[in-house]
């Protein structure tokens, strides 16, 4: 019962968070979750890189957003809270919480130009907020407004987590010893291995070309429930760079969705996957390359490559979806910014048309989605001049797909000024938009079958 018990408690503990993990001091992820699935494997690097140089004690909080230390987009900040130090009987526990603050679209070539990069930095130590450090970060020209106040409020919430953990330990006498944790991770690994091996084994290959010119080549091998993804032959990065941790995360996320392992994201299940990325390829990017495009388009492309290869190994009736998305930032007078993300899968769930219209000079004309085909069509008009920045992928060419799949259409972002024809925009860029201009977004999310798929 110990494994289930540990899982239940960890799941309850992380329940209020969207993206978070419980890990031990060695960096082993014991339970994790995220609305961006590729992020969960990165928590290990976050813990390792933070605790390697910082002697954090129970209650201390370390902050980082570095994509090259297990992070994600720069606007997604990792807070690491030490819950319990290791002891002879316990591995020590750490809570990682990832929260969004003031997201922006700022495409550029260097990470440091994209936004404020924070390597692992203590912000709360020995019951004290590290005010000078927080103030220094707030002074950075790329630091978002209100950052300092936001950090203080998150730190207060994390203090509550610490108290709750202590209360759990005291009241329930938590039996989480090192051998029990190892057993839990072994069980998880065994569970994932069985799930994968029962659906067959073999080899698959795929190739995906991005609009920015990079090409992914993947050889996927599944044997005895273990998965090896080899990206040998993948091109270097031109505009798109993906840190290796995120590449691993994207591969695991694709596997997890395919084999229905979403509830079990821990180091035990992660260890069923080995990923090889040649030095110099864009899936093994190094600082100081900007990571935003990689984390958006690169992750989507890796997941598509994985899904294509998986379908050569395992016969399935599951639809083949693209994870590609369009990000759009409109900057209106007085620096009012509207950042929106569009995917045929999830767009619209949380979008309030009335709220957007009340906040920004925008008027929606149409919003349609076909859930079966995962396609989306949106039109809206700008009522004031603005600067438009956008980033998407697969607008130039559809990926080369194995039979029976075919890519019949591509994503489109178009504009139309009064009295003129629709003009197609490239996959990324920025431009000035005149009032009265209509923007049209058409995205596809699912590849069609050219023939009856094997079942």
């Amino acid at each position: 019962m110990q494994s289930s018990w540990f899982y239940e408690i960890a799941d309850l503990f992380l329940q209020p968070e969207v993206s978070a993990a419980l890990a031990n001091f060695e960096g082993e992820v014991l339970h994790s979750k995220s609305n961006l699935g590729f992020e969960t494997t990165g928590f290990r690097a976050t813990v390792e890189s933070s605790l390697k140089y910082i002697a954090a004690k129970p209650g201390d909080v370390v902050l980082t957003n570095d994509p090259y230390s297990g992070g994600s987009f720069l606007h997604r900040y990792n807070f690491l809270l030490v819950l319990a130090s290791p002891s002879p009987s316990s591995p020590g526990f750490v809570l990682c919480v990832r929260r969004d603050f003031s997201p922006r679209l700022n495409p550029c070539d260097r990470l440091d130009e994209e936004g404020l990069r924070i390597p692992p930095t203590p912000i709360y130590q020995g019951d004290h907020v590290m005010t000078p450090i927080i103030e220094a970060m707030s002074m950075h020209p790329l630091c978002a407004e209100g950052f300092s106040t936001w950090l203080q409020s998150v730190t207060t919430e994390l203090n509550l987590y610490f108290t709750k953990w202590q209360n759990l330990e005291k009241s329930l006498k938590l039996p989480f010893s090192t051998p029990q944790i190892k057993k839990f991770l072994n069980f998880s690994n065994h569970f994932a291995t069985e799930k994968i091996s029962e659906r067959g084994e073999g080899e698959g290959r795929s190739e995906v070309r991005l609009d920015s010119g990079e090409v992914i080549k993947l050889r996927l091998e599944i044997h005895n429930g273990l998965v090896k993804a080899d990206f040998g032959g993948t091109s270097p990065g031109f505009k798109c760079h993906l840190p290796d941790g995120a590449t691993f995360g994207a591969c695991y996320d694709a596997l997890s969705e395919f084999y229905n392992l979403q509830f079990f994201r821990n180091s035990g299940t992660f260890s069923i996957l080995q990923v090889t990325k040649p030095l110099g390829c864009f899936l093994n990017a190094k600082y100081p390359s900007s990571a935003h495009r990689g984390l958006q388009s690169g992750v989507a492309a890796v997941k598509l490559a994985m899904n294509m290869a998986l379908r050569q190994i395992v016969k399935t009736s599951q639809a083949l979806n693209t994870e590609s998305e369009l990000r759009l930032e409109m900057v209106f007078p007085e620096n009012r910014r509207w950042l929106s993300q569009w995917t045929p899968k999830a767009s619209g769930e949380a979008l309030s048309i009335e709220n957007v219209e009340a906040t920004y000079p925008i008027e929606f004309i149409k919003f349609e989605k076909n859930l079966e085909k995962a396609s989306m069509h949106v039109e809206f008009k700008t009522l004031q001049p603005c600067q438009l920045r956008w980033h998407s992928d697969f607008t130039l060419h559809a990926p080369r797909l194995p039979a029976p799949w075919k890519a019949t259409s591509v994503g489109l972002l178009e504009t139309q000024t009064l009295g003129s024809e629709w003009a197609k925009l490239s996959s990324q860029g920025n431009t000035d938009i005149a009032p009265g201009t209509t923007l049209r977004i058409q995205l596809w999310g699912q590849f069609e079958r050219a023939e009856k798929a094997p079942v």
Partner: protein
């Protein structure tokens, strides 16, 4: 926006209760109903019954007969039965008119992984060529010809209830009013979103509107059952009042039907707040037969995360616990005995009640349900034995089975209580917990032992319904 306190004052003014008045308070759950008769806040009669056996009307008639009371002054009803309707049979004949270009919004805005069937049938979604801007300027008025055509289509589809969802109608309802008036003239029942709600997402209001419309038919049936059962007992011409999640009393008003789901929690929170010391925060742990939930009386939820997406709902903040009375016991992915994520309800219910096929959390306490109305009379020795056998068989299939039957049941009980305790530690913001509900005496006492740092107050099982009739 009318404040809650003002509403209460209005209600109290027009509906004050005299000391001699006999009050009926009725709590209708998905599978059980509880009725409480009181006079001057003193219990006259109380009963809880299984709806699957006696039904609501039959059970209520029987209750009144057994009480020996002929006349009552008022009847108050809090109900959770809409939940059952939402789960099994959403009303079919609801048509939706939406601003053109956005008419497919129920699908567009539905969460991707939702397993719920669509909120509205595609062939009952209609586009209307109209538009009002965010500033409240009517850019396009509804044309008379188009309106006539729509009415024809609605008649062809035999739609009875119509929801109107026009963008920015809260800023200027001119188009909405025009369509509403015409449809009402044509005999349709028309539902429009709450104009005063401080809700930033129109879809949350629109979903609530559709759900209110979809619940209408069944809600009216239930109201009719209550009315028929109480007709001879209530003063002539008076009907029972239902309680909304905002604490309003209603009967025919169709905009409160969905929020009646949270009516009871509102009254409990208000009643206990009035009784407790000022500035002494507390939480309510509701341990009913059908649901375990933690209520934060001082806080409000503005939305309900429904299977169709966010729904506007101004209600007392609640946190349903991970373990529920009818949570199934199963083998986990680690091949260990554990509690599932699904609650199976009472149809057929826990095994100790005789008809159930799956072991549940409540089965672990099956032998200790003596005296708990609704369970006591349904407990069967065969059911208890069947549960023991099935749990033992499940245990044998586990990777590391527990050696003895006694240890097996006590370990699982221990584990369930630990998990419930963990959830209280993680979610309670105060040190005082007031336990309420039919299972409060059983589970509340166990939790009190495990969590000495909390100050537990366990209320009698009759209080659940009793409070519904007080303070109006």
């Amino acid at each position: 926006v009318t404040s809650f306190n003002n509403i209460c004052k209005d209600i109290q003014g027009s509906m004050a209760v005299a000391e001699s008045d006999v009050i009926l308070a009725l709590y209708v759950g998905e599978s059980f109903a509880e009725a409480h008769l009181s006079q001057n806040k003193k219990k006259l009669h109380f009963h809880r019954w299984y709806l699957g056996k006696d039904g609501l009307k039959g059970g209520l008639i029987k209750f009144m007969q057994e009480s020996g009371i002929e006349k009552i002054s008022k009847a108050y009803v809090a109900s959770r039965f809409p939940e059952k309707v939402l789960a099994y049979r959403l009303g079919g004949s609801v048509a939706v008119l939406t601003t053109q270009g956005f008419e497919n919004w129920p699908g567009t805005r539905q969460p991707l992984n939702s397993k719920a069937s669509a909120l509205s049938s595609m062939d009952l979604l209609f586009a209307v060529d109209e538009r009002t801007t965010a500033a409240g300027v009517v850019e396009r008025e509804v044309g008379d010809v188009e309106l006539t055509e729509i009415v024809e289509k609605l008649k062809q589809k035999q739609a009875k209830r119509i929801c109107i969802h026009f963008l920015n109608a809260a800023q200027n309802s001119q188009n909405q009013q025009k369509v509403k008036s015409l449809l009402q003239q044509q005999g349709f029942e028309v539902f429009t979103p709450d104009q005063d709600a401080l809700q930033p997402d129109e879809a949350a209001l629109w979903r609530k509107n559709i759900l209110n419309a979809s619940l209408s038919g069944t809600f009216e049936e239930v109201q009719e059952d209550v009315h028929t059962a109480l007709q001879t007992h209530l003063p002539e011409g008076q009907r029972a009042f239902f309680i909304s999640g905002e604490g309003q009393l209603f009967d025919k008003e169709n905009q409160h039907r969905l929020s009646s789901l949270w009516g009871a929690s509102h009254i409990w929170a208000r009643g206990l707040q009035q009784k407790s010391k000022p500035n002494l925060p507390f939480e309510i742990l509701y341990l009913g037969l059908e649901m375990f939930t933690l209520l934060h009386p001082q806080k409000k939820n503005k939305t309900w995360q429904s299977p169709w997406g966010q729904v506007q709902s101004d209600r007392v903040q609640s946190h349903p616990l991970a373990l529920q009375p009818t949570t199934a016991i199963e083998l986990s992915p680690w091949n260990e005995l554990s509690f599932s994520r699904t609650s199976i309800g009472y149809e057929p219910g826990p095994m100790f009640m005789g008809r159930g096929q799956l072991p549940t959390l409540l089965d672990l306490w099956g032998a200790e349900t003596e005296g708990i109305l609704g369970l006591d009379d349904r407990r069967s020795p065969q059911g208890l034995q069947k549960f023991k056998n099935q749990l033992w068989a499940l245990n044998k299939a586990a990777a590391q089975p527990i050696e003895s039957e006694d240890n097996l049941q006590s370990s699982l009980k221990q584990w369930a209580l630990q998990k419930l305790a963990a959830e209280l530690i993680l979610n309670c913001e105060s040190r005082k917990i007031i336990c309420l509900g039919a299972l409060a005496p059983l589970f509340g006492a166990e939790l009190k032992k495990r969590l000495p740092e909390f100050n537990f107050e366990i209320l009698a099982e009759t209080e659940t319904a009793s409070m519904l009739g007080q303070g109006h």
